[in-house]
Structures are given as structure tokens and as C-alpha cells.
């Protein structure tokens, strides 16, 4: 299949993501880890799904398989009907290792502009997108700094800015707000939702913060501990208009939150041999 074929197929139904029986085992020097055992779910075009699960469950692995960066050992990922075999067009990823995903040899602005250049975004539009993205993550002042001159949280926000400036059809985010302060986090959450609603992207959002998952998502997928399966798929039936204080104050929010929390707690001991039970 040529790349134009893929492209047009994706355009047709560019966001429909289908994860079918994905299985991933890492074979390393003497260490074999079955990170993901059997994951099957799908995310419709324009949906915003959050993924929670214990540390080491395989969330990052799953995201990489979806992004076409890692070939699954079994099963397949389909995006817009086509099988994902390499990074599909129109997809942006915010990596958990944000620090290493920024190019240290480029300034912040260049880091954000480069993917746009790759997309052949015209120059004036590019400059506007970069400035806008930086503005929206609260980094208006640093376009000419290098990533290593920034604090952890600022680096992470640069990575986010790069992804949103790209205006992707599908956005994968791996714990994107882990290093920012509470208030910035809230702002970024709202930013994510508004971008999602305005641009109609499909968003897959990995987080450890259960409140965040419930607040952001239309659905929350709860993964079990490693080897990973989908433990539960919680539909978040909160109103579409969300607001930090009022939404979080809703009784339904508290219910959902409690439910997901319970599930996550169960997730760690989901498999008969509860390997990772911290004992302290």
C-alpha cells in the first residue's frame, strides 16, 4: 500500500482507532517481560479517552504501539481502517520522557516549528502557530532559550506546545502534565479539552491522576498491572461543558472518581500473583 493510499484512508475516517489483541513482549539481555498481554479496545473519531493503570502496566508501551513506533508482538493496531505499521500522518505524541524528546541543539521555537516545517506549513502560519502554542502553555517569554536552560515543567510544556502547534488528527499524550504545578495543570487540562473540541481531534491521554482522567475524558480505560489487559472501560457521563471547580464538585464526579480509584487499586492485584504490592 502506498503512502498516499494510507493518507487518503486516514483522511476518510481519520480518527478511528482500533486496537485488536495487541500483545507486546520485550526480549532483552536475559530479561523477558510480557509488558502487554492482550489489549482490545477502540476509540472513535473525535473521542477523548483517558488511560489509567499502575506504574509499569504498559501504558507507554501501548502508546508506542499505537503510534507505530514499536511493532506489537501480536495483534494489530488499525487507524482509520488501515493497519498501523509506522507513524501515521497527522498524529502527534507527547512523550513521557519529555526532556529527551526535545532536541537540545534547537531553541524552543525551533523545536516547535520543525514538525510544522515537515508538514510544509507556510512560514507566516508557522510563526503564528508557534507563538500561539507557546502562549497557551504559558511560555511566551522563552522562544529563544534552549530546552536545557528550562526547568522540568517548562520543558514538558514545550513538548506539549509542539504537539498542539502541530494540529494533529490524533493526539497521544503520555503523562503530559506530570511535571507542572497544580494551577498550570488545571489550565493545561482546560486547554486540552478546548483544543479537542475545537479541532475535533481524537485524543488518547495517559495519566496517573484519577481526578484528571475523569475530568478530562469521555471514557476512562483502566488497565490492569503487568501483563496488561483492559480491566474496565468507564464511560464518563459528565456534562460536555466542564469547568474546574463546578465539575469537580458534582456528585457524579465523586462517584466516578471513587469507582475508577477502586478499579486502579484492584488493578495492581488483578493477576493471581500480585508481584508489585508495595509493603511499606
Amino acid at each position: 500500500m502506498t503512502s498516499t493510499d494510507v493518507k487518503s484512508a486516514v483522511r476518510a475516517d481519520s480518527g478511528l482507532l482500533d486496537v485488536r489483541g495487541v500483545q507486546k513482549t520485550y526480549y532483552g539481555s536475559g530479561r523477558t517481560v510480557e509488558a502487554v498481554r492482550d489489549l482490545t479496545f477502540s476509540v472513535g473519531t473525535g473521542e477523548l479517552a483517558c488511560i489509567v493503570g499502575p506504574s509499569g502496566a504498559g501504558k507507554t508501551t501501548l502508546l508506542k504501539c499505537i503510534a507505530g513506533l514499536l511493532p506489537p508482538t501480536g495483534g494489530e493496531v488499525r487507524l482509520g481502517g488501515a493497519r498501523v505499521q509506522g507513524p501515521p500522518p497527522g498524529m502527534a505524541v507527547v512523550f513521557q520522557e519529555y526532556g529527551r524528546s526535545l532536541f537540545p541543539w534547537m531553541t524552543v521555537a525551533d523545536n516547535i516549528a520543525l514538525p510544522l516545517k515537515q508538514k510544509r506549513t507556510p512560514k507566516p502560519r508557522r510563526a503564528a502557530l508557534v507563538a500561539e502554542a507557546l502562549e497557551s502553555v504559558g511560555l511566551r517569554d522563552v522562544p529563544h532559550a534552549y530546552p536545557w536552560q528550562l526547568s522540568g515543567g517548562m520543558q514538558q510544556r514545550v513538548a506539549i506546545a509542539r504537539a498542539i502547534a502541530y494540529e494533529p488528527d490524533v493526539l497521544l499524550m503520555d503523562e503530559p502534565f506530570a511535571a507542572v504545578d497544580a494551577q498550570t495543570r488545571a489550565e493545561l487540562e482546560d486547554l486540552t479539552r478546548s483544543l479537542w473540541r475545537n479541532l475535533g481531534m481524537t485524543v488518547l491521554f495517559v495519566t496517573h491522576d484519577i481526578d484528571e482522567a475523569v475530568y478530562l475524558g469521555q471514557r476512562v480505560l483502566v488497565l490492569s498491572g503487568s501483563p496488561t489487559v483492559v480491566m474496565e472501560d468507564v464511560a464518563v457521563d459528565l456534562p460536555a461543558e466542564r469547568e474546574q471547580l463546578s465539575t469537580r464538585a458534582l456528585p457524579r464526579f465523586a462517584e466516578l472518581r471513587a469507582h475508577v480509584y477502586e478499579q486502579v487499586q484492584r488493578a495492581k492485584t488483578f493477576h493471581t500473583a500480585p508481584a508489585a504490592g508495595a509493603s511499606a
Binding site: A67, G86, A92, V93, F95, E97, S101, W105, L114
Partner: protein
């Protein structure tokens, strides 16, 4: 650094260069000091009879000869000839080595397929190729170039191969996920990662190329410093020979100064440069 705690207010504006410890010389001066010390050693060794002054004359006499040599027009012509063979050779070697390195390094199949051949060809000394070079290209610049390029291409190529391998997987994934073209990946990810390696490769190559340019003049007799050295040698003009050797060494020092300056510009982002820069 002051001992007094500072109160709030305008920043104390210490000089950005304040990291050099008190009493320490600025770096170019230190380097000069090193060279002066070397000259001192070269002066003292023969004077104290550790080595015979007949074979290693004191530095002052070499310096005298150097002044004499510098007065001759033929010397400058020779220097120019050497610089020509060296410069062209180095440029070709760096170009070819970098290009091949990027190509071979980023295509796994090529890397595997060429590894054995590269390892086979590398240890073949350029001097052994003298007859071949002369036979094919005569005794002119081309022969020198062939020998220079043959020897100087390997450091660049090998450094590039090592550098290309060192790409951070997260950076690579980032580029892949944004669907960078092959060219963009090369240009924006592989190239900057390999650049520090390449800098070392170029510095290695520069001296290898100089050495080969001079050696091949020495052996083949094409015009240049090497030929002058050979002539001084066969005339037992010891001081003059060392004067020419010092010129050779000085060329090497110049290259390094240039390389370091370039490095400070193009690698300002790299850990090695930025952690040594002012904090």
C-alpha cells in the same frame, strides 16, 4: 564569590567569566605558557647533555634557523604547496567520510555489508601505496592527494559511524512520530548527534592529513615542506630540519585552535561545551 550573604535588590552582576578561578590565567595564555614550557625543555635537554646537541640542537638555535628559513621565498612556496595538498586532501576526506558515514551509518544493511571491508582496508598503510599512487597519478599533487585522502578518510568515517549510532531513541521516536522525512531526520536528528563525534574525527583527520601530506612529499619528492625536510635531512642541516618540523607542529596547533573555536560555536548546546560554559 563573596562570603557576605546578599540582601535582596539588584543582582550583583558578577562577571560572566568569573568561573575561571582566581589567580588562573585565561585559557589562550595558558596554552601559550604550555608551548613556552615545551620550548624551555627543548632548550635545556641538549644544553645539559641529556641528548647530544648534534642531533637535537637547543631551541634557540632552531629558532635562529627558523628565522633564516622564513626569510627564503622557497620556504613560503613550500608551505603553500603543503597547505594545498593538505587542505584539498582534508576537504575531500572530510566530505567523503562524512557523506559515507551518514549513509552507511543510517542504513543498517549497508553498515553490516561494509563493516568487514572497512576493517580490511583501514590498516593498509598509505606509504605502502606509494608505488601505486605514483604509477597511477605520477608524482604531482594527485598522488599526494590520493595518499592523504586514503589515510584521512578513516577517522572521519569511523567517528561518523559511531556518532550516527548514538542517536537518542526518544529523539528518534520523536522525529518518527512527526513523520520527519529521511532527509529531515538526517539533518535535524542524526547530524547534530553525530556532530561532536565528527568534530573529533575532523581533528584527527586534520593531523593525519598533514602527516601524510608531509610524508608523501618526503618520499615522493613532490614540492612542499616534506621535501624541504628531506633535503635538510640529507644535507645534515639539523637545525633547519627541526625548524621545519616546528613549522609542521605549529600548523597542527593552528588547526586545533580553529577546531576549538568552531566547536564553541556549533556545539554550544552540547553537554561538553555548555557545562564548561559559565554557570
Amino acid at each position: 564569590m563573596t562570603l557576605q550573604p546578599r540582601r535582596a535588590g539588584p543582582p550583583p552582576a558578577p562577571h560572566p567569566r568569573s568561573r575561571t578561578r582566581t589567580g588562573a590565567l585565561p585559557e589562550p595564555l595558558l596554552g601559550l605558557l604550555g608551548l613556552v614550557l615545551l620550548a624551555g625543555v627543548l632548550e635545556v635537554l641538549p644544553r645539559t647533555g641529556v641528548v647530544s646537541a648534534d642531533y637535537l640542537p637547543p631551541f634557540s638555535e632552531i629558532a635562529d634557523a627558523l628565522v633564516g628559513v622564513a626569510g627564503e621565498e622557497s620556504f613560503w612556496q613550500a608551505l603553500l604547496d603543503t597547505a594545498e595538498g593538505w587542505g584539498y586532501g582534508l576537504a575531500i576526506a572530510v566530505g567523503v567520510g562524512t557523506g559515507l558515514g551518514l549513509l552507511i551509518g543510517s542504513v543498517e544493511v549497508l553498515r553490516r555489508a561494509t563493516a568487514s571491508t572497512i576493517e580490511f582496508l583501514r590498516p593498509i598503510p598509505s606509504v605502502a601505496l606509494v608505488p601505486l599512487a605514483v604509477l597511477v597519478y605520477g608524482t604531482g599533487l594527485e598522488s599526494t592527494l590520493l595518499l592523504v585522502v586514503y589515510a584521512a578518510v578513516w577517522p572521519v568515517l569511523l567517528q561518523m559511524l559511531a556518532g550516527v549510532r548514538d542517536v537518542d531513541p526518544v529523539a528518534r521516536d520523536t522525529a518518527a512520530s512527526y513523520r520527519f522525512t529521511r532527509w529531515a531526520r538526517l539533518r535535524h536528528v542524526t547530524w547534530p548527534t553525530a556532530l561532536p563525534y565528527l568534530m573529533t574525527g575532523v581533528r584527527l583527520s586534520a593531523s593525519v592529513a598533514l602527516i601524510l601530506a608531509i610524508s608523501s612529499q618526503l618520499i615522493i619528492g613532490s614540492p612542499g615542506i616534506g621535501k624541504e625536510i628531506a633535503l635538510a635531512q640529507s644535507s645534515n642541516a639539523v637545525e633547519e630540519m627541526y625548524a621545519l618540523v616546528i613549522v609542521t607542529g605549529a600548523l597542527g596547533v593552528c588547526v586545533n585552535v580553529a577546531a576549538r573555536a568552531l566547536e564553541r560555536r556549533v556545539l554550544a548546546w552540547h553537554t561538553s561545551v555548555r557545562t564548561e560554559a559559565v554557570t
